[in-house]
Structure formats: structure tokens, C-alpha cells
Amino acid sequence: MTDTIIQIKNVCKIFGGLIAVNQVNIDVPEKYIYSIIGPNGAGKTTLFNCITGFYIPEKGEILFYGDPIQGLSTNLVAWLGLSRTYQNIRLFTNLTAVENILIGLHPNLKSSWFDAIVHTRSFIKEESGSVKEALRLLDYVGLKGYGDFLAKNLPYGLQRRLEIGRALANQPKVLLLDEPTAGMNLHETAEATHFIKRLRDELGITIILIEHDMKVVMGISDRISVLDYGMKIAEGNAAEIQANPRVIEAYLGPGGAALSEKYKKQRQSYAQSHRS
């Protein structure tokens, strides 16, 4: 087994009386596509926010290559190599697509404001290099030719891609995607799924994924955790999760397991009767 890149240990996040994340333990191995699923309000995004430094968990530890990162400010977390996208797209809407990616490159550049004013040689070199890199990334996420559009004027699907492009510009080791296929049609979803797989295979990035589309999750995940009411109720690969009665119950309510069995049988008999 490969190294663990992110280790979530007994993490709790409490808002007033509500325990949004309750004693969650997750180990994410390197170069895995790791999905976190669960019904609405299960605490998935809260867990993401804890990992990326938006929230400070009340209890527990989050380790990145064995070093604790909980409580660090978000820009340090980004600099370490964890970048993310958002459930509701959050681009810099009044800047162009290229500029969005250039801002993503920010933590890896060094030039100061003084360099910018006097145009030192290192500044010019870095600037032209970063423009080239930004255009390369733009091409990589499939936005070639859209670079000078304002982010807010891009179509929805491209905005999602641009957000991933901005996250990639950080040169992340771990990419956290929050519902990357929300609001997409079947074709776009298939494309996005393929793209996420490519990210892992070509760039060797570990991906943590929140997703509601079970087809996507079951198709590409190496491992899946299920959250419900802030607690982890199951972990395993796709087949194990599908068979887990607690997961079915979380999604369909008490008695759901029996219900789903019933429907499965009905469907099978329906299919058989049609085949004959």
C-alpha cells in the first residue's frame, strides 16, 4: 500500500449545539480518488472546510504527510499543496479566465511590488513564464480561446473547468473537488468524470471528491466514505458501499434496505419478463 497523504483523526466540528462533523477518521492514500458521499447536510463540505483551513476543528487532527495542518491559515494550506473547488462556483468573476489562473499561480511566484515597478529582470522572466504556464493550463482544462473572457461571461460548464484550472495552477498535491458535476447533463458529466481520472493518471494528484451523482462516484472512486449526520457510517470500495445496509438506510430512511431489495427484485423480474 502507498503512503497516506492525508489523515483525518477524530475530527469534530461543532456549530453551537449542532455537531456538523463528529469523530470522523479518514485515511487518504497517495494518488487515490477518494470519494466522500452522504445525504444533504451530512457534513461533507464542512469536512472539506476543515481540511482547507476555512474552519478550525474543535477536536482532532488533520495530518498532511504526517504533519498537523489544522488551524493553519488557508493561504498556508494552499501553499503546502492542497487546493480546492467550491460547491457553488466561486471564481473571480470580473477578471478574465487567464487572470483567474494567474492568481492561482500566486503562491509559486516570488516577485514583489518593487520588482513590478522597476521591472527587474527576474520579474520579466517570471511574468512571461507565468503567462505561458497559465495559457498551458488553460489549454489543459479545455478553455483555449476563452482566455480573455470575463469569468462571469463563461458558460457554466467552462466555469467549473476554469475553477479546476485555477486550483491546478497552485500545483497541488491534493485536489479537493466539491460536487464538480453538479448541474451538468449526462454527456458533460461523462466528460468531467473522464477529466478527473486524467488528472490523477497524468499529473499524479490525489483527489478527494464530494459527489451526489452515484454513477460518477462508483465509476472512478478507489475508495469511498459515507457520512451521515456528521458521522462516518461506512468505508470501502464501490461494491462494498453499494451492499452496505447502513448506507442504504441513510439515503432511503429506516427500512430502506428492505425497500431497495424489493425494488431490485421488481426491476429484475420486469427485465426478465420483457426479455422473454
Binding site: G53, Y86, F92, P107, A116, S130, G147
Partner: protein
Amino acid sequence: MNRNLFTTSINKGFTFGIVMIFLVLIDFEVMAATMLSKLLGVNVVRGALPEVRFMIIFLVLYGLFVGWFASSDQEKPAKKLFQALIAGLTVAVVVGLFDIALNQLITTGTDVRAYLAALGPASIKLFLLEKGALGSLLHLGLFTGASLLGSVLKILLKSDPMSHFLKGISTVYRDLRAKTQAITPNWIKEYGKYLLFLLIGLSAFFLPRMWGSYNNYVLGLVGLYVILGIGLNIIVELSGQLMLGFAAFFAMGAYSMALLNAPLPHGIMLGFWPALAIGVLMAVLAAVLLGLPVMGMRGDYLAIVTLGFGEIIRILLKSDLLTDFTGGPRGIQDIKGPTLFGQPFSSDIDYTYIILVFMILSIFIYKRLERSRTGRAWMAVKEDTKVAEATGVNIKNSKLLALCLGAAFAGLAGGIFAARNQFTGPNDHQLMVSMNILSILIVGGINSVPGIILGAFTLKGLPEILREIENYRLLVFGGLLVFMMISRPEGLWPATRPNIEKDEGNRQKAESPPGKGGQHD
């Protein structure tokens, strides 16, 4: 007739009527008539009233505006005329009732000035066109007629033949441009930009000498406000921190210059240039001291804190406590100007040069900052602070840097301002200064240097030249801001984002194949 058309027209007319009444209550109509009179070449002695015909012209212009505004774009010509008629009549009736009341006041000899400072019997008589009660009837005719005329004008100007004609002009212009571009030799295309710069530079060098001292004073003021505008633009529009006490940094620069380069109260006489540099440093220091505690705030809270900061600085300068040190409410006089090559360099013309140089330097620095890693980080912070941080931008440093650099520009402008006026006092650094600069940004155009220059001209240059509207400056300001918010929310000259992808593509095209493709676009 359409009931909806009728009521909306009445509503519009009612609004315009009320506006007219308010304009009369503050005596604006007499000022406007005076201005018109001057524009048309008939001078009016200060304090005297203009001739009746100019009042008529003003009222007709107002009526035209009502008619233009009341006739809506989508309606047919007949309905437009109907709308204008109704609106004009409503204005006339509203103003007419007011006229009768006014006439009653002057016939009974009531002292209007006791209640309304601006309104005198003479100006009321002028507004009634020197005809007393008959004036309201005249108004009725004027407003209705002019309103109809305005509608006719709109119908004509927006009619098909007219728009066809205008379109024709624009195509001819475009053809002409394309043709001239085709026949201009390549060297002009390549070096034309530098030629233009040279031309501007030469005119900047020679023009101030040809203009009088007063014009140079106005030009210098505009230049200083451009520097201030650029400084505030960095803080408010690039990095998104709403700052209302910008005058405090201006005061830092001005008072550093005053205390270090005037005979009283300390007599240090350090010289202009060192004092200017120290002024800039003091402004930056103030920005750090203000910035460190308020970094976590944003929006309204930040605005209130900075507003307070600006006022605290002004009141400190004015206070008895510091009178020995800062000269108190009387300010500091006899601030010395710079000497260059042994020559005193301190007439308004000389200062125009100094200000122009620093203005160009400020624009240069601003442009370079905007298109750099630092500038992009600021813009990201303004757009979405939390996401910018998660993308790896250090928010605190970034905001503080913007505050310091913006303050440095203010300190620079303050130092030059104090030395040029040879005086500075607490009244130079009122809240109104901060508001002026902010208005320049809003009117001119956010993040756009031409916009800031245009805004500085409109808001600082024009009022200086048009001294008559001095009393109405705030009114015009407010009206202009509301108008801008409605019709041009992005400012007179909105900024555009750079086309990085296209530029890079062009650059590569120009570099790789030397034979083909380079010159074409």
C-alpha cells in the same frame, strides 16, 4: 386613450414639477440663467440679475428635457406627443400653483428671506418673468410648448432616416479609417505611438508657459487630484477596502512639508525635496498604524473606522493641545518651495511641471502594479477575500501593502499641495476632500487611469473654471453621482481587462515566422 400612458406621464410631470420647485427654492434658476447669459456672450455683473430672455431660455431647456424624458422609446409618435403634452401640462400646473403662492408672497410684501436664505423678491420677480401673476400663465405656455417640442425632437432624432444617416456617417468613418490604415507606411504604425508621446510631451512642456497663472493653478489642482485619485484607487478599487478618511494621509504629507519647511513654528527649513520624502514616509507610517488594527474589518465597518481616523487627524491638527506644534486652527504659513539649480522654482507654472512629472510617475507606477502579481492579488482579494486566501494569497500583507502604497501617493500630493499654496491648515483636510476623491473614482471610472483624469477634470477642474456654481457644488455633485449610478454605473471611461491570451498569441506569431503573418491582425 391608454390609462396607463396617462398616469405614468402625470407621474413624470409631477416629479419634474417638484424638482423645478426645489430648484426655485434654492434660487438655482437664477444661477442657471446667469450662466446661460454668459455662455451666449452677455456678461452679468456679480450680484446683478440676468435679463428675462435668459430665464425664458432656461425654462424652455427644462421643458425640452421634460418632453424628451417623458416620451418613451417604444411608443408610436402620436402617443409620444400625447405623453409629452400631459407631462408638460402637469409640470406647468404644479409650477403654476407654486407661482401663484410666490406672487401672493411678494404682493403682500412678506420677507421671504427670513425663511429661505437663497430666495429674494427680485429673483422671484425674475422667475415670474417680470409679469407677476400673469407669469404662471406664461409658464404654462412655455412648459407645455417646450415639452411638445422636446418630444418632436426625440421623434425626429430617433426616426429611421435619422438613424440611417448617423449609421451612414459611422460607416464612412470606418471606411476612411480602414483606408488610411492601409496606406500609412509601416514606420508610422510602428513608431506612431512614440511620436504621439513626443507630441504630448512637447505640448506639456510649452502649453503651461502660454497659459495664465490661474489656468496653471487649476491644471495643477487637477494633477494633484489625479495623483490622489490613483492612490485611493489602489486602496478602494484594486484591493477593495472602502476608505473614507483618505484626507488624513494627505494631511500627513502636507503637514510634514509645512513643519519641516516653514519659518514658523519650528523653523527647521529642511528644504523641499527632503521634506517631500519625509511626508511620503509619514503617510506610509500612518497607514501602517491605521492598517494593523483594522485589517480584519471590511465593508461598512472599515468605512466608519477610516472616516473616524480622518476626522481624528484633522481635529488633532486643530486642537489646542498641539497648537504649539502644528500651529492650531490658523495653520502654517510661508512654506518654502523647491530650488532647482540655484533658481527658486515656485510660480504656478513651475509647480505645473513638478505636478505633471509626479502625475506621470504615479500613472506609470500604477500601471505597472496593476499588471503584476501584486495587482492581481489585490483584485482577487477585492473579488472574493476568502477564495483569494484559499488560492494562496496572504490577505493581511496584501491589504496592508495596498493601504501603504495608496497612502504614499496621498503623502506626495499633500506635500506638493502645501508647498504650492505656501500654506496649509486644518480646513484643507476636511472630510469633503476624501469625498471628492472618492467621487472622482466613481464618476470617472473604476480602475481606469483615463477615467480618473476625466473625473478629476469634471469634479475639480470645471468647478474652478465655472465659479458661478460654487454655491451649488454639492447639489451638482449629488445630482451627478445619482445620474452616473443610473446611466453609467461603470463611470465615464470604464476600465477594460487586458487581453493576455490574444497578446501572447500575437507575440508568438510575430516571433516565430519572420515572413508571414506578423504585420496582419
